[in-house]
Structures are given as structure tokens and as C-alpha cells.
């Protein structure tokens, strides 16, 4: 009878954790062709990075990681995106990743904490 409203097609997960004393809000969403991960300590999305797996003929997949908005000179952010896209790929998904990091510091411990938190709550 008429058109019914379908179930919401995007899965989301919210969490909040403490990394080196900074409250960090993490949001994960799973779209048809992308995963979106937002990790913020500053109340804004900060730098947005895009990571995708390249289609290739070699056995080892290659990945393209770039900053599409915000800081472009922070290699640790790219490394974080690279780790996550590799985890996505080894979990069997070929979706791309949009990663948003609004962090107070870009230290190794912070980014390691973010990567652990995301992997523990991953949607893939």
C-alpha cells in the first residue's frame, strides 16, 4: 500500500575514548562504496584523507592515500590512513576509505590509539 520507508541503509557506530588524556570521539559509517571514519578531539573534522586500493595485476595490492582537505604535510596522518586501508583490504573489502582526523597532536601514540580503536570497532 503506497511506498513504505525502507530500513536505513547505512550502518553507523559511535564511540568515545580517551587517548593520552584527550577525549576522542570516533564515528564509523559504512556506505555502499566507502567507509567513513571520523576521529575528532577538537570538535571539528579536521583533515580529511582519502585512501583507496588500486586495481592492479600484481599479487600485492597497492594503495593510494592522499589528503583531500586540510593539512597536507603531516605524514603521520597519511600513515594512519594507510594502515586502515590495508586492514580493510586484508579483511576482504575493496571499499575506499574517507578518514577524518581532527586531533590535538599528531604523535605516534595518538595515532596508534586511533588505529586500535577503529580496528576494534571496525565495520568491515
Amino acid at each position: 500500500m503506497g511506498s513504505s520507508v525502507p530500513r536505513f541503509p547505512v550502518t553507523c557506530k559511535n564511540l568515545s575514548l580517551d587517548i593520552k588524556g584527550n577525549k576522542t570521539d570516533v564515528v564509523l559509517c559504512s556506505y555502499d562504496d566507502h567507509f567513513l571514519v571520523i576521529a575528532t578531539q577538537i570538535g571539528a573534522m579536521g583533515t580529511i584523507l582519502h585512501a583507496r586500493k588500486e586495481e592492479g595485476v600484481s599479487i600485492e595490492p597497492t594503495f593510494n592515500v592522499s589528503s583531500i582537505f586540510g593539512k597536507r604535510d603531516e605524514p603521520m596522518l597519511l600513515a594512519c590512513a594507510r594502515q586502515l586501508i590495508e586492514h580493510i583490504s586484508t579483511s576482504g573489502s575493496s571499499k575506499s576509505l574517507v578518514l577524518s582526523l581532527g586531533l590535538k597532536d599528531h604523535s605516534v601514540e595518538t595515532l596508534r590509539g586511533i588505529v586500535s580503536a577503529v580496528i576494534d570497532n571496525c565495520l568491515w
Binding site: S3, V5, P6, F8, P9, V10, C12, K13, N14, L15, S16, L17, D18, I19, D25, V26, V27, C29, Y31, D32, D33, H34, L36, I38, T40, I42, G43, A44, M45, I48, H50, I68, F69, V98, S100, E109, R112, G113, S116, A117, D120
Partner: protein
Amino acid sequence: MASGGSDVDALNQALNSAQIFEGKQQQLLQQPDLNHKGVDAEEENGAGLEITCFSDVFNDVPLHFQILRLPKQIYVWIGCSSAKLGNLYAAAPTRPKDMASVTSILGGTSDNTGTGIARRLVLKTGLNVILASNIPKNSPMLEAEAEKLLVQKLIHLGYTRQKAEQSSSIARGRKPA
């Protein structure tokens, strides 16, 4: 503890990871009250930010919306039929006047499908906006309807600023929030 520096480092790292997880679990139990007014269907508000998700249908086309309110920013996703992320746009208020600038940051070409919506959202909310939209090109009716539904929901949630605030900020030349 004098020697065995690398062992201590490894132990510290392991402990740090453990502490992070403990902190997370405690937060989940405490459930800090970050709720705004206007709780709506399918709202995710476990222990962090709140996402408002809702769907509607227009001319037999399902429209899906996600609104994530951060303290200084709003992220919006508009899905038309599918759940693809679509094109990503960033828009922000621009001084000196009450203007907004918008740019495409992922996927978009020179089409205007999401840019108009993003710009108007900035003007209505006064916040930075990141908009993801997979509305197809050349569907102005769909675009207009999606924007209308979105703005209705934003007003309902209290994320828009009042008209009086808008005009007074123009008059005083005040920096937007």
C-alpha cells in the same frame, strides 16, 4: 629499574593500549549526557557524538539523510536510492560579509548538484559544513526536495541559527561562529 630499556618500552606500549580500552569501556558505562533536544528516530548516541539518521520518499525515490553535529561543524550525507557516499563538498562561512564559500573535495566535477545545498546550509547554520551527496545530476526537483527535508530536520533539531541572529551578525559585522 636501570637496564632493559627496550623491554620497558615494549611493556609501556602494551600498557598504553590496555589503558585506552579501559578508558573506552568506562566511558560507555558512564554515558555522558551529550544529548541535544530533538531526539529522533534511529539516533545513535551511545557514548559519543549524536548522528541523526532518517529516510523519506519523494516520487517513489527513497531519500536517506544523516546529520552529524560536531561542536564546530556539521557533516551531512544525502543518499538518493543507493547508499553510496557520492560527492564530497566542503563549505564554510567567509568573512567579511555573511557569505559562504564552497568547494568540491571528492568526486564532484563542475556540476552544481551539491554545492548549492552546501552553501545554503552554511548560511542557515553559521557553521562549517561537509556535505556528501549522491543525488544525480539534472534532478532539480529531487535536489530541492532533499534540501527542504534536510532543512526542516535541522530546524527541528535546533541546529540552525535564528533569523534575528543572522541579521544582527550582518549588522555588527561580527565574525560568524
